[in-house]
């Protein structure tokens, strides 16, 4: 990587930022009401929203992390791809349409629909903030780590400055553009990302005479693991415990996707349930194409660049895709891949900031503090202030976590989302007796057990790759807590409900069920 490279990367990046800021500015001239700020006035079509949805979902962890994980661990890295594709079926069939029909802006709307409003909304906002900040820190940490490779910035101070710049630009997107601006950024980014990845895939597979088997053959020769990379067990096959860790990861990937607050919020930017369904169909196609391509790119990087060179590069595993781009397309393709990676981080973090700020302003400020009688303008003002605070937190967290493993941190956020949100969403939609206590037990039970298990896992202490390698308080042996925390949260919701004397409100349950399936009473057509 030379100085000329950095100049190209910087200018491609700069052009992208200026262009998107201009579009955000143009898209947001009448961005005043709460509905405009949170849900873009529900004005996007299913197709547009579906592309934006995939854009929200395909983070830097997906692009750089997954292709890197495949390039180094082969089959075990491929597991991420599969989990993240199959997971969309839950969003499609169980969540999206009902959520669009029952809620307005946040997931708290749906969870509190037939419960006591204030405690449930506060719980929903807490879960949203914790999950979003976790996810955001992972993205920001990734931004810092990547800079080492992409912009040739090696000092910690230089990387910290870049993390801060990324943070400031994304807060600008959210403040200026609201949901509409952020959605357009997602659409542009998603199209760029898919184009980039599919062209690279076609090119790579063409290089091996359109013979995937020949490519794998070459890859096994370039990997120190040989044939073993093509079969399971490289990373997770060592012991009985690591196999359970693998299953735990698979579970978190499957159940976390449709419970991520920023993905849930995207179902509100369309006018009705039919368009919400179309969004998910589009997003599923985009995501399926994308992850099929990561398979080729991952093994392609293994074949053409070589595992040793990837793990030895400044960005480690995360540098597989950029190194491959440099190998096949020289500086120009590297510049494009860098720009796409930057765009991905910017857009995803902007989406997360918006979700966190909406959740605080709509659930906590408007409904808990102001008892549902806040002036919409004040609500939007509070949301904007929250966006700035969340941005500052994310920058600080990102600088602190700089250098950590991105895809791994993101998988933890998935475990958090799956254990805090999914049981509550499913129970409140499909279980008549579910009540306020069940909701609170399930959400707080899932969230706290998950956070505690992470804190006492090998991810935090006790091994060479943990955050505190010198201390050892890892009582919990698994690095992903999903397999324990998710069932625990389902159980807590069940016990809370049957142990509570407070019966569920049958009228509200009827309203939620009818409205969820048909949209009657929601005012949506």
């Amino acid at each position: 990587m030379t100085g000329a490279n950095t100049a190209i990367n910087l200018s491609v990046f700069g052009i992208f930022v200026l262009l998107t800021l201009y579009i955000v500015y143009r898209a947001s001239t009448r961005n005043v009401s709460a509905s405009d700020y949170y849900a873009a006035g529900s004005s996007f079509t299913g197709t547009q929203n579906g592309i934006a949805l995939s854009g929200d979902f395909l983070s830097a962890a997906s692009f750089l992390g997954i292709s890197g994980a495949i390039a180094v661990n082969g089959y075990d890295g491929f597991m991420y791809s599969i989990g993240w594709v199959v997971a969309w079926l839950i969003g499609l069939m169980l969540i999206s349409e009902r959520l669009r029909n029952t809620g307005r802006f946040t997931m708290g709307d749906v969870m509190a629909f037939r419960m006591r409003q204030r405690p449930v909304r506060a719980a929903a906002a807490n879960a949203t903030l914790v999950i979003s900040i976790f996810y955001m820190i992972a993205q920001m940490a990734g931004a810092g780590g990547l800079m080492a490779l992409l912009l040739d910035v090696h000092s910690k101070v230089g990387q910290a400055i870049i993390i801060a710049v990324v943070g400031i630009v994304m807060v600008l997107y959210v403040l200026v553009g609201g949901m509409k601006g952020t959605t357009w950024v997602q659409i542009i980014k998603a199209v760029m990302l898919i184009l980039c990845v599919s062209l690279m895939t076609i090119f790579l597979i063409g290089k091996f005479g359109f013979d995937f088997s020949a490519m794998l053959d070459r890859a096994t020769q370039k990997s120190p693991l040989g044939e073993a990379v093509l079969s399971p067990g490289v990373k997770y096959g060592a012991s009985g415990l690591s196999k359970i860790d693998f299953i735990s990861l698979a579970l978190a990937l499957l159940l976390g996707t449709a419970s991520l607050p920023h993905v849930l919020m995207r179902f509100y930017t369309v006018p009705n349930a039919r368009e919400a369904r179309r969004s998910v169909v589009w997003a599923t196609w985009m995501v399926a194409i994308f992850y099929s391509c990561t398979l080729v790119i991952g093994f392609g990087a293994m074949a053409l660049v070589g595992t040793d060179k990837i793990t030895g590069a400044p960005g480690g595993e995360n540098s597989a895709a950029p190194l491959l781009a440099f190998q096949v397309g020289g500086t120009v393709l590297l510049g494009i891949v860098c720009a796409v990676a930057f765009a991905t981080i910017l857009a995803v973090v902007a989406g997360l900031t918006l979700t966190a700020s909406a959740s605080f302003a709509h659930d906590v400020y408007a409904n808990v503090i102001k008892h549902g009688e806040a002036d919409p303008r004040d609500e939007v003002r509070v949301a904007r202030i929250t966006a700035v605070c969340v941005g500052v937190l994310a920058i600080a967290g990102g600088i602190a976590a700089n250098g950590q493993n991105v895809a791994f941190l993101v998988a933890l956020a998935f475990a958090l989302a799956a254990s805090a949100n999914l049981p509550t969403l499913l129970y409140s939609m499909f279980w008549k007796r579910f009540n306020t206590r069940g909701t609170l037990w399930s959400m707080y039970g899932g969230l706290t057990s998950c956070v505690l298990l992470i804190a006492f896992s090998p991810a935090i202490s006790g091994s060479k790759s943990s955050v505190f390698p010198d201390a050892d308080f890892a009582f919990f042996p698994l690095s992903n807590p999903g397999i324990v925390a998710i069932p625990l949260s389902f159980l807590a919701g069940f016990l809370g409900t049957i142990l509570s004397k407070e019966p569920a409100d049958p009228a509200k349950q009827a309203e939620m069920e009818v409205r969820g399936l048909t949209g009657i009473g929601s005012g949506l057509r």
Partner: protein, 136 residues
């Protein structure tokens, strides 16, 4: 929280077939709001629920079983997954790719089923609780 429907119900206008249905008034309460309790036990709504369940339940069980099988085989039957199928492509990689294919197939099947079997039934139920909001 959202009060999208007008609070006063106007008399049904002739010419709108759905308004002439004899049982439609049962599903609107005195304030012109939809009577959710009555809709919930209405035959048309129950039919919609049955149609939703008939697709979603088997489809969900199918893809969950298929995914869990794949994960368990990867964890505990690595030798089987290692069996070569086409050149260097083995059973595990093929099954993994098939997971993506089945996801697309179920997605498209659901989209088609919703359009043909669910959306028309949703319209029927909605018509039962329709006030004259379009005329307002």
């Amino acid at each position: 929280m959202t009060k999208a429907l007008p609070s006063v119900s106007r008399p049904a206008t002739p010419g709108f077939a759905t308004f002439a249905e004899p049982h439609h008034s049962l599903l609107i309460d005195g304030d012109g709001e939809p009577d959710f309790g009555a809709i919930q036990t209405n035959e048309e709504f129950l039919a919609l629920k049955r149609r939703v369940t008939r697709f979603i339940l088997p489809a969900t069980l199918l893809f969950l079983t298929w995914y869990v099988t794949f994960v368990l085989l990867s964890a505990y039957a690595a030798d089987f997954m290692r069996t070569p199928l086409f050149g260097t492509v083995n059973v595990g990689l093929t099954m993994g790719f098939l997971q993506i294919v089945t996801t697309i197939v179920i997605t498209m099947a659901y989209a088609r089923y919703s359009k043909r079997r669910l959306d028309p039934q949703v319209e029927k139920v909605r018509a039962l609780a329709e006030t004259d909001e379009e005329l307002a």
